[in-house]
């Protein structure tokens, strides 16, 4: 791969996702805990590792600019010449020398590239938010995002699994006999779980209930686009139970790209 490489950065609420490549060829990917990423970048570092031949300023910036080159040292990334970023942080924190694109665009581009499809409904299930994007002719036609809280997000599922001492792998297997969870609040959901355990509900049925409540919250957002195919991305798309419940709920095939969690970063490489 001799073409100039682009570093795509998707600064999510839980993980910062990196992809380096040219067009659809991705040469390197990495994920870093968001807090660690900001701490490492904020603390600054040498600019000797990377950078193209132009005169861009590679050093740590003052204020809230991130030193992405410091980050590269952490991740052991190959050389790149352009940076494109997206994700939560991008309105507050600029990646030094980088161009920022809206998340919706990045995710749609990533999904088009990864699946080869041009008409689909993309469901991005992230750590703190959920996006449903209608893609037509390979372009964003419309989108909707969940409301402000983390209800029904990846963080909610993590909390429920942690409360029950279950791994995310176990969580992803539980879809049968779900108990009805009334509260999808990422915080108050925990106390509801404690109540259900004391009432004798099994851990599997509670985990299935958590997965089902995420899907129940998602379904009205998806239905407005009357999808023929659903593409699921984001960390929660790795959860088999959520995918299965989503298929049952919508009656539509759910496709997961090869790298669901890196989808936004891959979209940045293209963007």
């Amino acid at each position: 791969m001799n073409r100039a490489l682009t570093l795509g950065v998707d600064a999510g609420s839980r993980q910062v996702k990196l992809a380096i490549g040219a067009g659809r060829d991705i040469a390197f990917t990495a994920m870093i805990d968001t807090v660690q990423f900001y701490l490492a970048c904020r603390d600054g570092g040498s600019d000797s590792h990377n950078g193209g031949s132009d005169s861009r300023n590679h050093g740590p910036k003052s204020g809230r600019d991130l030193d992405i080159y410091r980050l590269a040292q952490l991740a052991g990334a190959p050389r790149w010449s352009h940076v494109v970023s997206t994700g939560y942080g991008r309105n507050n924190v600029a990646v030094a020398g980088g161009r920022a694109i809206p998340e919706i665009m990045a995710h749609a581009a990533g999904a088009v590239s990864q699946t080869g499809l041009s008409h689909f409904t993309l469901v991005d299930l992230g750590g703190q938010d959920t996006k449903v994007i209608s893609v037509r002719d390979g372009m964003v036609d419309d989108f909707v995002m969940n409301d402000k809280c983390a209800a029904g997000s990846g963080r909610y599922l993590e909390n429920i699994a942690a409360t029950l001492g279950a791994s995310l792998d176990t969580l992803g297997q539980c879809w049968e006999n779900p108990v009805k969870l009334s509260n999808t609040c990422a915080i108050f959901g925990e106390s509801e779980v404690v109540g259900l355990v004391s009432d004798g509900a099994s851990a599997q049925s509670i985990l299935a209930g958590a997965n089902a409540s995420v899907v129940a919250r998602l379904a009205p957002m998806i239905r407005r686009y009357r999808p023929k195919i659903i593409v699921a991305s984001g960390g929660v798309a790795k959860n088999m139970a959520v995918r299965k419940l989503l298929e049952i709920e919508t009656g539509v095939e759910v496709i997961t790209p090869a790298e669901p969690q890196l989808n936004g970063a891959i979209g940045c490489v293209l963007g």
């Binding site: 919706i104 665009m105 964003v140 402000k148």
Partner: protein, 331 residues
């Protein structure tokens, strides 16, 4: 002139005819440096967190600005106002109800106007004279609106701020008219705003700050503020009853949608931003707009008087970029 608070647009003509000066409590709340404290203060006094920020802000602002009397709209706006009136009275503020008749019936409207005149001690003749006086200013606001969407000389925020002020004319119609005259003169000299995306805003006036400015920074000109424009009574009318029956906001949603559709076409709007207020019953209207309006709609929600947050920015940016892509324009 005696200051008389108002909870939303009411027939200001009658207030002026009574020798009073209307003060839109929403405006004095949201433009006050203490706006956040106002909301907190109301919560400290026991207003629930799950009640609209406008209600809480109006409550504290009214007391802080020592407004002795408030005209509260009991039909056609917000049912929270009913209890707000009770609390005002408990705090020694005199309240006068005004009701937009849901059936939009002429006779009912005439009797509501008569009740308001009687409560304030205004004659019908004086009220109609004030209609003619204020109409002169209202038609100048039409010009502000025209300079916004037809000529691209006025920003979305300026349009919002001037049009929304026609609920109370700053309590000083002469001063307000002079302000508009000066603004028009200055705005006509400006270069045209160059923005690839033409946006419209529908829904109640937003409580958050920087919304219009952010849209314009991102490549969109907001050239339609639906409810603010309705405050100017764009359809006029030969009598006060006719004028306030033509006002679209307080009644059934059908004529309001017709008005929005007409303006979308006339102004060649690419997309609509529907602003909804947290805990407001009007949030449900989103469902109707989405079903009835054949145009991309972005719904954004605000709860408190603070700068727009990162999530709202992400949504707006993506929406504007999407609309630009559809037109084949770059932002």
């Amino acid at each position: 002139m005696n200051k008389i608070g108002i909870t939303t647009t009411i027939p200001a003509e009658i207030v002026f005819a009574s020798g009073g000066a209307p003060v839109d409590l929403n405006n004095i709340f949201v433009t006050d440096i203490k706006r956040s404290e106002y909301v907190e203060q109301a919560e400290v006094e026991g207003f629930p967190r799950t009640i609209c920020g406008w209600i809480k802000g109006m409550y504290s602002a009214c007391l802080d600005h020592k407004i002795p009397k408030v005209i509260a709209v009991t039909g056609g706006d917000c049912s929270n106002t009913h209890v707000l009136m009770e609390i005002y009275r408990m705090r020694g503020v005199e309240t006068v109800p005004f009701n937009y008749p849901y059936g939009r019936n002429r006779q009912s409207m005439q009797s509501e106007l008569a009740l308001l005149r009687d409560s304030l001690g205004a004659s019908e003749e004086a009220s109609e004279r004030w209609r003619a006086r204020l109409n002169r200013i209202r038609r100048k606001l039409d010009m502000v609106d025209l300079l916004t969407w037809r000529d691209g000389k006025v920003t979305g925020f300026e349009n919002h701020l001037l049009l929304v002020s026609s609920s109370d004319f700053d309590g000083d119609p002469d001063g307000f008219e002079t302000k508009i005259d000066r603004f028009l003169e200055e705005a006509r000299q400006r270069p045209e705003i160059d923005a690839p995306v033409r946006l419209g805003m529908i829904g109640i006036p937003p409580i958050m700050e920087g919304l219009h400015e952010f849209m314009e920074m991102t490549g969109a000109h907001c050239l339609y503020n639906e409810v603010a424009r309705q405050f100017t009574m764009p359809f006029g009318g030969e009598t006060l009853a006719e004028q306030y029956l033509a006002y679209t906001y307080p009644y059934q949603i059908g004529p309001r949608i017709d008005d929005i559709q007409t303006e979308i076409e006339r102004r060649q709007i690419d997309g609509i931003v529907h602003y909804v207020q947290s805990f407001c019953h009007r949030q449900m209207e989103d469902l109707i707009f989405r079903e009835r309006l054949d145009i991309p709609i972005l719904t954004i929600e605000g709860d408190a008087p603070r700068a727009i947050d990162a999530r709202t920015k992400i949504r707006l940016e993506s929406f504007i970029r999407m609309l630009a892509q559809r037109k084949g324009a770059a932002v």
